[in-house]
Symmetry: C2
Subunit: 459 residues, 2 copies
């Protein structure tokens, strides 16, 4: 039997937020193959930041003597942290699912969806049973999942991904992290702060997509803090002795074996498009598997929409939420379509140090070569609050159009970067010039925002 719906939503992360009051009169199917609530709530942004905050606390204790405060770190109660985090999050996920199930017009399907026709889906449950539905509109919001690289031997040894590593019940003494992106950076900070001996193995430098100055400084700090093998060829994974795992790498022509109690694979993410059999519906994906959409977030098939990590390589919750608002409107207002406008997209990496960024990097501008730009860098150590922090490493780098004087990019490495950048996002969005932002308003002295003020003044 095939059940009919007005709308079917595949994925319950930002997809779940589609159901505004407009949808009360529609018959809606929501399909989730994993835990209700999506990556951000269950495995991503929120739990990681809760662990990161505890990691920041541990690091503050560890470095407190720098400020004349002598303290000792006795224990990190990993299970208590995990229980606190998931004790808060898991009920939210469960409550969200229960709420949706309580609605008369919504049916929640727990299972994996795949297209069997342009508007028909088969949903297979974990128990092997299968149901078929038809929907007038279908929203692809199935997200993405960790990408597992084809490393010889990897499938024969135990390893974690960001989906599982925060749910372990005992901290390993040592952890190898494969990857150099934001997941690797945040996880190294979390586990390293909690006393785990970290080795990072990356095929390039760290956070290589950040502005080149930021990536260089971050790589330098992480190379001081952790054991790192950068620009490494990963040759093989194998069991080590005593239940450990072993990774063999080649760095600068030399073969090196690294062993640890645990392994985290953090080598990127793959959009969840493969399991959906999108080709059956005719939905186009790009070479990397991301669903192709137009500015109204329509896919190449009328009536099929997409949002979030399955369509946006940025893999950011705040863009997914903005996309969800657009789809929520457009789906029920076909004659009044709104275009998505995400520019400028900011992001942050909650590592130690923190990174925040918005707009273009200097290497992007140089490669494009189409506009004259000016840059300015100001260090935390050169503003009063940075003196208080005894910071000697971190900085704010700004890039502005040499002619129009508007910001093209802003990049911050250091404490509170994710907050400091918000006014620059605002300035970029509303077209304020560097000069207006620098001199047109007062900055509280001696707040850390003076870092931004001084970088603007330098421009």
């Amino acid at each position: 039997m095939t059940e009919n719906f007005d709308v079917a939503i595949i994925g319950t992360g930002s997809g779940n937020s589609l159901l505004t009051a407009d949808y009360d009169r529609l018959k809606v199917a929501i399909i989730e193959r994993d835990v209700f609530g999506g990556t951000c709530l269950n495995r991503g942004c929120i739990p990681t930041k809760m662990f990161v905050y505890a990691a920041d606390v541990a690091e503050t204790v560890r470095h407190s003597s720098r400020y004349g405060v002598d303290a000792r770190l006795d224990t990190v109660r990993w299970n208590d942290i995990a229980d606190r985090v998931f004790g808060r999050i898991d009920p939210i996920a469960a409550g969200g699912e229960d709420y949706r199930k309580s609605l008369d017009n919504v049916t929640v399907f727990n299972g994996e969806a795949r297209f069997t026709g342009e508007r028909t889906l088969e949903i297979r449950s974990a128990d092997g049973s299968s149901r078929h539905i038809v929907a007038d509109d279908i929203v692809l919001a199935a997200g993405a999942s960790p990408r597992i690289p084809p490393i010889p031997g990897l499938s024969e040894i135990p390893y974690h991904t960001s989906d599982t590593v925060l749910r372990i019940r005992e901290l390993p003494r040592s952890l190898i992290i494969l990857g150099g992106g934001f997941v690797a950076a945040e996880m190294a900070h979390i586990f390293g702060s909690f006393g785990v001996d970290i080795t990072i193995i990356s095929r390039g430098t760290l956070l290589a997509r950040e502005d080149e100055d930021i990536s260089r400084e971050f790589t330098r700090q992480y190379s001081d803090r952790f054991t790192t093998y950068l620009n490494a060829d990963i040759l093989e994974a194998a069991p080590g002795g005593d239940g450990t795992v072993r990774i063999d790498v080649r760095v600068d022509g030399e073969r090196i074996s690294v062993a640890a109690e645990a392994l985290l694979v953090a080598t990127g993410r793959t959009p969840a498009s493969e399991t959906l059999a999108l080709d059956v519906a005719g939905v186009e994906v790009d070479a990397a598997g991301y669903v192709v959409t137009d500015k109204f977030l329509r896919t190449t098939v009328p009536g099929i929409w997409a949002l979030g990590d399955i369509t946006n390589p940025a893999q950011l919750k705040h863009t997914a939420n903005a996309e969800a608002r657009i789809v929520a409107h457009n789906l029920v207002h076909p004659d009044d379509l709104r275009a998505i406008d995400l520019w400028p997209i900011p992001h942050a990496v909650f590592a130690g140090p923190q990174i925040a960024s918005v707009g273009l990097t200097e290497q992007e501008l140089r490669r494009a070569g189409t506009r004259a730009y000016v840059t300015a860098t100001h260090h935390y150590g050169d503003v009063a609050y940075g003196w208080a922090m005894e910071d000697t490493e971190n900085f704010c780098k700004l890039i502005a159009d040499a002619e129009t004087r508007v910001l093209l990019g802003a990049h911050i490495i250091g404490p509170n970067a994710s907050m400091l950048i918000q006014q620059l996002i605002q300035g970029m969005k509303f077209g304020q010039t560097v000069d207006e932002m620098a001199r047109g308003m007062l900055y509280i002295h001696p707040a850390l925002s003076e870092l931004v003020e001084n970088a603007l003044l330098k421009l």
Copy 2:
């Protein structure tokens, strides 16, 4: 002998920053009765924030177990903190003075100035010697100093003010703080975090000039954290036993004696106008002693200018710096006068919790009764980063014009308030509506700026 100058500047805080390139051709006298560099550098914003940062570190250690990180606070090395702070600051002050003294066109006078005529000053040195100068333009930038209230017995016992308390060489076991303003709040945080037993005695509530909700919550938190006697009549000060000091107060009709090893008087500040004999020059001051200026920062006497704490009750370095830029320009460009535009003036209190504020308070708006407004309050505990912080108390309160939808005031109590508010200052200054700021740009998820975003959305 009377020496002639083009410009005489009384005070070396923001006054010292007047000397732009425009002044290279002028003969300048700079007069300082205290340490070169002013309150902010030597006794105010900068050293207090350096101590506050160490206090924040100590508090993080003390509360780390809340996050699953068990740590012990062994010692606070007060002298090491003080040596670090003043070891950085004092050379800057000395270097600033040496630099000015090295300039051919600048003469630095160490002494106390007072008018002996409309353009003539007598400068008395500490050694009792006296010099006389005449200047075409005179800038009053002498600042302010702690106000000592007329409490019976106070002059017979030892006490500290914000000028001296950070330079003590040994932490007292207990400290009475008289006052409920920002100095009292920050000093209680510093010394309390370092283990000193704090008693705050205030004639009203704490931070009573803040928005009423902020003041109420701050008072509540400080009443939990410290011993407080609020709405207290201070009756008498006297020596206690064993070298302690004793303060007698009446609270709710009851007379109470409070004793402690040390006393800090933090009951407000007085502009340094009295010692200048301004009446001789004819410079008008208001009832509280602040020098009266027009929008070009001219006093009532042509050729005499004023800026900073001597003219601005806000007692803020960032307004003083903005005023200095105006005077620096206007003094040498009499035909191209620039008006001061400080609106909106933000400020922060770096206490525990932190406070930041800009624009009007709700009680000011209610009293004025001239415009319809709407308010919204969002708690740290209701955004994801606040979950990570386990915050249950702090919040952001916004007030907007009900009609135009622009912000009238923003008030934040809680961690990082001084940074979070900067985007709201920017929005107010450049006329962005609440709706533009709320929905017109992306906020990084899950950065703490989502607190501001959600408060804006609620409006």
